[in-house]
């Protein structure tokens, strides 16, 4: 498919002068648009007349509706291929809405339809202006499929009487089942000629679709069979029951274009009628927008055009409002004609305008001939298109998409068949929303278990091994329906061992007052059991809700952990907090056994913490050499922790210690922050240089605090607090340096203490694994 010049060169389309653009259009796009417009008109003329019959209106109104709104929607809209005009589903709703109003209000049917058209357009214009395009999102695919199929059945059933040439009094019309029954009971009155023409129309159209899909079958069949009926004299008046009704019998089509008139709703407004039409107009507006956006989006996905839906909505609204002054009924984006427009090579919105112009020419030039089209032929066309509305593939796919889709599509279909059509759309939407609420009424509950190798493991809810800390992961929507009874469900995760519950709420959405009430109640239930609540994964929105509801204060800031970019960061912190709570609870019980702690205190010695790799240096070196050594050691050990250099005598005895802060202090001697602010790096280097050559003994401090290999952890910790250095040297009985450990190693030993304490107190259940909390890396 050739791309539109607008699409191919958008810059040219917007920046070129108007004259240049017209010239470019004439040269490149005029011909393909004119051809595509002709194709659409050939298809649209019979469709327009037939769809008017669906709406219960004379065919001429279908032709008007194929002209005026088509032009206006094309001018103001954004889609290059959307063709607006009469559509079968909309016409069926018009019939459903207006059929009974004519007698009730004593107003002409066409005036009621014009009022309905104006109101529908007004709704759509408002949607466009206030950018309410999102409203169509609430009409799901299942609703559209169910409604379209239902409308197809209704349309086909409604046309049986016209197809077989039976007249049914208006008093016996109404529900489609009643209409079918009335038709069947009058089957003996069927006009065999009308039936023959209708049946032939259907058969020929099917044959054209199958064997010559590109040929304008509808037009050829209508012309041919009209000739047949005319030549055979079947449509001549005065034939009694065997007279085949033709278009002229409803209202004669005259080759005039005097169509402007102000609808009566402006001249003699009937407020009761307008009030009654408003609900239907809203349904038509929404369904019309769904139709228009669906087809324009489908074609745009093939052409790559970016659509402005709010502009499209406004255009559809303007088209209806203006066309209601021109004897047009409610129009919409036509699936079939838009697709034909695109396939015929339309490049710009002018193609739709061309189709309207051709239709107007047909109306003026060939209008009188259209008067001889048999109504049964139009009924045949309608029945064929109505059957295509029942999209078997889409119905089947939707039906197989699960029980929820079945309920929505089945419910909408049933509502379409049994209720007023405008109500059926809302029933479908309501069903979709109810199903959505039902599906989302239960947030996903799982439990997290910390794993020693790969962080957290997600296990089904209530399947985690009993531990003092239960981590519950809440995901999904937590609206009012979902919050109901969730607190009691959460309690199922509690075991006799549970001391702390960590609620992870990272992916929880739509939190409202019901959810906060649930959380409040859950907190109270836990309190009654002596269990603490810690929450984590708190996003900004949830944080605000927690504050506003007063739950932040109730839970306590120390028990709230906020979501971080790093996955599970806040969960890790919350778990650390939970373990802290468990620890504190235990520490209050002084009578409990301390064997495990005691063992750790005694059995963990300096040898367990020590590393043999440490910086040893002779005593007679310069500061710069120590600096070099430390910087290389830091790089090799990949550590940012301040390191020490241990000075040894010739006998290998530890004499002194020098660390990074001490060197920095030496280099910065006499340098105030104010002086430093004015120093360039070169000046800084020059000021430091003399000190680089100083003897390290000038700044090293005596290593008078050491530990032995077998010093227990308690002594290590105590001595560490006395030592001003960040590394603790380990020496042997002769005072020789064996190794050292830094603060990190001491922390490791401390964590061992925690492990021992937790392991002891979690018996008989499996010991809690306090995995190291990963410190983020550079």
């Amino acid at each position: 498919m050739t791309q539109s010049t607008e699409a191919a060169d958008p810059e040219r389309a917007t920046s070129a002068s108007p004259l240049r653009r017209v010239s470019n259009y004439i040269r490149e796009d005029l011909r393909p648009d004119a051809i595509a417009g002709l194709t659409v008109a050939v298809m649209g003329v019979p469709q327009g007349m037939a769809y008017a019959l669906i709406a219960g209106l004379p065919p001429i109104y279908g032709l008007y509706t194929s002209i005026i709104p088509t032009i206006i929607a094309a001018v103001f809209g954004s889609s290059r291929h959307l063709v607006t005009g009469p559509t079968n589903a909309m016409c069926m709703i018009i019939l459903s809405l207006t059929a009974s109003l004519q007698n009730r209000y004593g107003v002409n049917l066409i005036e009621i339809v014009l009022a309905l058209t104006f109101l529908t357009g007004l709704f759509q214009l408002v949607f466009g202006i206030f950018k309410l395009g999102g409203i169509v999102k609430y009409v799901s695919n299942s609703v559209i499929v169910g409604f379209t199929a239902g409308a197809g059945i209704l349309i086909a059933a409604n046309q049986i009487k016209s197809l077989i040439g039976v007249s049914i009094p208006e008093s016996q019309g109404g529900h489609f089942l009643v209409t079918i029954w009335a038709t069947l009971t009058r089957f003996h009155q069927a006009n065999p000629y009308a039936f023959l023409l209708g049946a032939l129309t259907i058969l020929l159209l099917i044959a054209f679709r199958r064997y010559a899909p590109k040929v304008p079958g509808s037009l050829i069949v209508l012309v041919a069979l009209s000739f047949v009926a005319g030549l055979a004299g079947w449509s001549e008046p005065g034939r009694g029951d065997s007279h085949v009704k033709i278009v002229r019998d409803i209202q004669e089509i005259t080759p005039s274009f005097d169509i402007f008139s102000v609808p009566q709703m402006f001249l003699r407004p009937n407020l009761d009628l307008i009030r009654e039409l408003i609900g239907g107009a809203l349904a038509l507006a929404i369904l019309g927008l769904v139709e228009s956006t669906s087809i324009s989006r489908a074609i745009a996905s093939a052409t790559g055009q970016r659509l402005d839906f709010n502009r499209e909505f406004a255009a559809q609204g303007i088209a209806k409002m203006v066309s209601s002054f021109c004897h047009c009924f409610v129009s919409s984006g036509s699936f079939t004609r838009s697709a034909a427009n695109h396939q015929a090579g339309a490049r710009t919105r002018a193609a739709a305008v061309f189709s309207a112009v051709y239709t107007a020419i047909v109306l003026v030039a060939f209008g009188p001939f259209a008067n001889y089209i048999p109504l049964s032929c139009l009924a045949g066309i309608i029945m064929v298109t109505a059957v295509t509305m029942i999209q078997k593939d889409r119905l089947s796919m939707t039906w197989k998409s699960g029980r929820n889709s079945q309920i929505v599509v089945g419910g909408t279909l049933a509502a379409t068949l049994l209720m007023p059509l405008e109500t059926a759309v809302f029933v479908g939407v309501l069903l979709s929303i109810v199903i959505l609420l039902r599906v989302t009424s239960k947030p996903d509950l799982t439990q997290l278990v910390q794993h020693s190798e790969y962080g957290f493991e997600e296990v089904p809810f209530n399947r985690a091994a009993p531990e003092p800390v239960a981590i519950i992961n809440l995901e999904g929507d937590l609206h009012f329906a979902a919050a109901e009874d969730l607190d009691y469900e959460l309690l199922q995760a509690l075991k006799p061992e549970t001391r702390v519950v960590v609620l992870r709420m990272k992916r929880l959405r739509a939190v409202g007052s019901s959810a906060m009430a649930m959380l409040d109640h859950f907190h109270a239930l836990l309190n009654a059991r002596g269990i603490h609540l810690v929450v984590c994964g708190i996003e900004e929105e949830m944080s605000k809700v927690l504050t506003g509801s007063g739950l932040r204060k109730l839970i306590g800031e120390q028990n709230i952990f906020y979501a971080d970019n790093r996955i599970f960061q806040s969960t890790e912190l919350a778990l650390a907090r939970a373990m802290g709570i468990v620890e504190m609870q235990r520490s209050t019980n002084e009578t409990e056994s301390r064997d495990s702690l005691r063992e750790t205190l005694v059995l963990t010695t300096a040898a367990d913490l020590m590393q043999k790799r440490c910086l040893r240096f002779g005593e007679g070196h310069q500061v710069r050499e120590a600096m070099w050594l430390i910087s290389q050691f830091q790089k090799r050990m990949n550590t940012a922790h301040p390191q020490s250099v241990f000075l040894q005598s010739r006998e290998g005895k530890l004499t002194a210690e020098l660390d990074t802060p001490a060197i920095l202090k030496h280099l910065a001697k006499g340098l105030t922050t104010t002086d430093a602010a004015g120093l360039s790096e070169d000046a800084l280097a020059r000021s430091i240089e003399p000190r680089l050559f100083d003897d390290i003994r000038k700044i090293a401090r005596p290593a008078d605090i050491t530990v032995k290999f077998d010093s227990p952890l308690s002594e290590v910790l105590w001595r560490a607090s006395q030592n001003r250095f960040r590394s603790m040297p380990v020496s042997d009985a002769h005072g020789r340096l064996c190794g050292a450990f830094d603060e990190v190693a001491m922390l490791r030993g401390l964590t061992k203490l925690l492990h021992a304490d937790q392991a002891k107190h979690s018996a008989p259940a499996a010991p809690i694994k306090v995995n190291p909390i990963q410190v983020p890396l550079t």
Binding site: E557, Q558, A576, R577, M579, G580, E583, S587, R594, L597, R598, L601, R624, M627, W628, I630, S631, Q634, M637, N638, T639, A640, H641, P642, Q643, P661, L664, K665, L667, A668, L671, T672, T673, A676, A677, L679, E681, L684, A685, L692, S714, L717, W718, A720, S721, Q722, R724, E743, M746, L747, L750, T751, L753, L754, V770, I773, Q774, V775, P776, L777
Partner: protein
């Protein structure tokens, strides 16, 4: 010219002021040396404002102080350790740490790092806390500045 924000890192541990030392240890601990690069805990108040920094050194000093008062009995030592672990982390915040500004030069940083024994300086951009500067990073930068291209002078190093 090297500025403070080139030496700073935002990868550190944040913790609320209500947490205990035990929790701080749980967060700061890691068994592998390679991941122990910025073991510094930034303590925040309820509004998210930075109250100060806590280093492993501060935790150990607090435990050592408790142990020093406990005597030689293992029971009293255990009680002392538990008391030390239960200490709110906010009580361990280092008070003498000068704050670095994002546009501080290396000279200014050197001067500030020499004013305390802290291993990390908190860095602010105006009133906004943006990260921490390890003194080892300042040390490395000084080494680069003063020792670069002069390794031949250093007698103990092999060529």
């Amino acid at each position: 010219m090297i500025r403070a924000n080139q030496l700073a890192t935002a990868k550190f541990v944040r913790i609320g002021s209500g947490h205990s030392t035990a929790e701080a240890v749980g967060i700061a601990f890691d068994p592998t040396a390679s991941t122990l690069r910025e073991i510094v805990i930034v303590v925040l108040d309820n509004e998210g404002n930075v109250l100060g920094l806590v280093e492993p050194r501060d935790i150990l000093e607090n435990l050592g102080t408790e142990l020093a008062q406990a005597g030689n009995e293992s029971d009293t030592q255990i009680t002392a350790i538990r008391r030390g672990l239960a200490t709110p982390v906010v009580d361990l915040i280092r008070r003498d740490v000068p704050r670095a500004e994002a546009n501080d030069t290396l000279a200014v940083l050197l001067s500030k790092s020499a004013q305390s024994e802290a291993a990390y300086l908190p860095m602010f951009d105006g009133a906004l806390f943006v990260g921490v500067i390890p003194v080892t990073a300042i040390f490395d930068a000084i080494c680069q500045l003063t020792l670069s291209g002069r390794t031949g002078d250093i007698p103990f190093l092999d060529p």
